[in-house]
Subunit: 211 residues, 2 copies
Amino acid sequence: MKTLRVPEATITRLSVYSRFLERLDQKGIVTISSGEIAEGVGVSPAQVRKDLAYFGEFGTRGVGYNVKDLLHYTLKILGLDRPWPLVLVGAGNLGFALCTHKGFNDRGFSIIGVFDNDLTKIGKKIVDLEVYPLEKMSEIIDAHQVRIGIIAVPPRAAQETADLMVKNGLKAILNFAPVALNLPEGIEIRNVDLTVKLEILTFNLGLRESL
Amino acid sequence: MKTLRVPEATITRLSVYSRFLERLDQKGIVTISSGEIAEGVGVSPAQVRKDLAYFGEFGTRGVGYNVKDLLHYTLKILGLDRPWPLVLVGAGNLGFALCTHKGFNDRGFSIIGVFDNDLTKIGKKIVDLEVYPLEKMSEIIDAHQVRIGIIAVPPRAAQETADLMVKNGLKAILNFAPVALNLPEGIEIRNVDLTVKLEILTFNLGLRESL
DNA sequence: TTCTGGTAGTTATTTTATTCACAAGTTTAT
DNA sequence: ATAAACTTGTGAATAAAATAACTACCAGAA
């Protein structure tokens, strides 16, 4: 591939374009221009074209993009042309919400194992999934060739959870705990911080008052 | 203020620094250097100093920063030197998780009203909060002078929810629905997209295979 | 007091990302 | 056929952000 060094912001937008295209396709729309995509997701048309240009030429000059084709291309680029089994650690309220989150299934993700070290939670069911003790993680990961884990435990338990995931062979971690995790080279890690964006809002509201 | 045009990435990091400082303070640590903060949150020391420099001089050369002082400064900058009442629309699993999310309370946010248009949910309790019909939002917002709302509804209902929030006087919205919202000038909006980061992981795992 | 080691604040440099502007190609109408 | 109206892909220009390098300053030891 000639495709090294793609800005992460581009991948982020690609994910957004991709889901926008899904909605267009569902509506039966066949063709769309960069300008319309831009309008629909809130970026500039040039940005849309530039982002796509990292990966090839998908449109037709004078015409635009075929919605179905571009949708497939974006899914392929994002690695979503196949299902992704996930394991989740932390059967609290957030874990529960993630297990039942429709957005994951829609994109080919399925949580196939939920783990916790809380004896009061182990054995309970989250929809059709039983909550297992941490010891069972290794078995599930091997059986389903899971590569990605989600951390939804309290901050204090996040690092040890991550360590265990790595030990069990996971290659990528999505971390909802608001702490920086220390991981070996080669493990992909991304954090989702529920409060950061809220604090950007309060910062901006505060700025506004001081004008 | 001389402080216009601060990169949003700086605010994001400030939020992270701030919570790191809280943990240091709880541990009784008095002084810390930019290098140690950097280490603790996973950025470069120069980045830490640069970020803080947008807002003033908080450290002592040759010494470092006083943890308690810097914590207070960061909280003040982020607008967290006062409580923030929030309203939430969408009493699904995600809404429930957000209501009980400890990270919000720790930072002075408190959800004081939950709303839904689903008759089977209205009247039920989420911890000590009753789920109200949307019609009651206006009243609660006025009574508590709420300025920020959280959207945790399905994608299709997100735009109308946002419109209603704006109509009821909210000035900022945190949106968990994966759609771009169309809002009037002057309303702050930030999206939290639960799947984007997951798709960055699959993209990177995919890249790795093609090497 | 003076020297040494260390650290913040700041300016300069480099890198990265976005926007702009236009050539190249497509379609439709005349 | 030709012109007119669009829209992509892309190289160049611009803007933004991160990094590095440097200066100023503090504390403690000699």
